[in-house]
Symmetry: C2
Subunit: 135 residues, 2 copies
DNA sequence: TTACATAGTGTTATATTATAACAACTAAAA
DNA sequence: TTTTAGTTGTTATAATATAACACTATGTAA
């Protein structure tokens, strides 16, 4: 019982919630996830938040901080949630994960005034997506 | 009555709240601000949030999205909240605004796969500050 | 196998962060 | 003076997130 998901060792709740987020074309919010998985036996916010925390930790999903929403990682190179970058359209709210080696190298090597390197970053760009620009 | 703050046309509430944040060495959260300004007549969350919204809009303060906290802008070049970058220490929670022309130029010129430029960004680096590294 | 450690679950209650709606007031400009 | 846009004060409530506790499942090592 409670078999782990083969590919990534997800538990039942984690898998239910990951699958929902993964199928979604846009970021999902915690309580919207909750409403969508209640028929599958996940009844309380904490069950959702715990799964989300774990999924973020292992890099299967990312949190869009400015939106309090969660998106599946489609960037094969990001095994852990340590270097994330997104574009966010301020009209249609479409969020896209950026996978630019130039950008990630630049940021991974960034040092502050004291010469300190930082182990993680999260970058969010805001503006208009192509579709909304053309309207 | 209700004189504007000379330098930046802040209203009374905006000035009270800006002064508090500006004096603080670390980011402040909305409800912590509320408790600190109740003696000055600001009694309700909305009064705080409205002032915060305005101060963010005009670039006098920035929101640290990953912490739901607000910090005064000490970067003379950032008149508007359109290009922000911070380092955040995961131990002591010290937050520092980065003012690196190299970084800001790099990010301001970033284009996504479709060649789209974005009008705003927010970047948060996480790691250890110098002090915490030495401990 | 048993014992142990680690991690996940289900549950209730509650804390924290943020906004809706509405009436009134203020400041600046036409 | 009238209008306009923005801010204020207020009550209520929505949305986001965690504390605490008892219990269950799984992996590992004696």
């Amino acid at each position: 019982m409670n078999k782990m998901h083969k590919e990534h060792n997800l538990t039942k709740n984690q898998k239910i919630i990951f699958d929902l987020i993964d199928k979604s074309s846009q970021p999902l919010k915690a309580y919207s996830i909750l409403y969508n998985v209640q028929k599958k036996g996940i009844k309380a916010p904490l069950q959702v938040y715990r799964a989300l925390d774990k999924l973020v930790e292992i890099g299967k999903i990312h949190k869009i901080e400015s939106r309090n929403a969660f998106i599946a990682c489609h960037n094969s190179s990001c095994q852990v949630a340590k270097a994330t970058a997104f574009t966010i359209c301020e009209i249609c709210e479409k969020v896209t994960e950026i996978s630019s080696t130039g950008l990630s190298k630049y940021l991974a090597n960034f040092k502050d005034k004291d010469g300190m390197k930082y182990s993680k970053y999260n970058l969010e760009f805001f503006g208009l997506c192509k579709k909304c620009t053309l309207k």
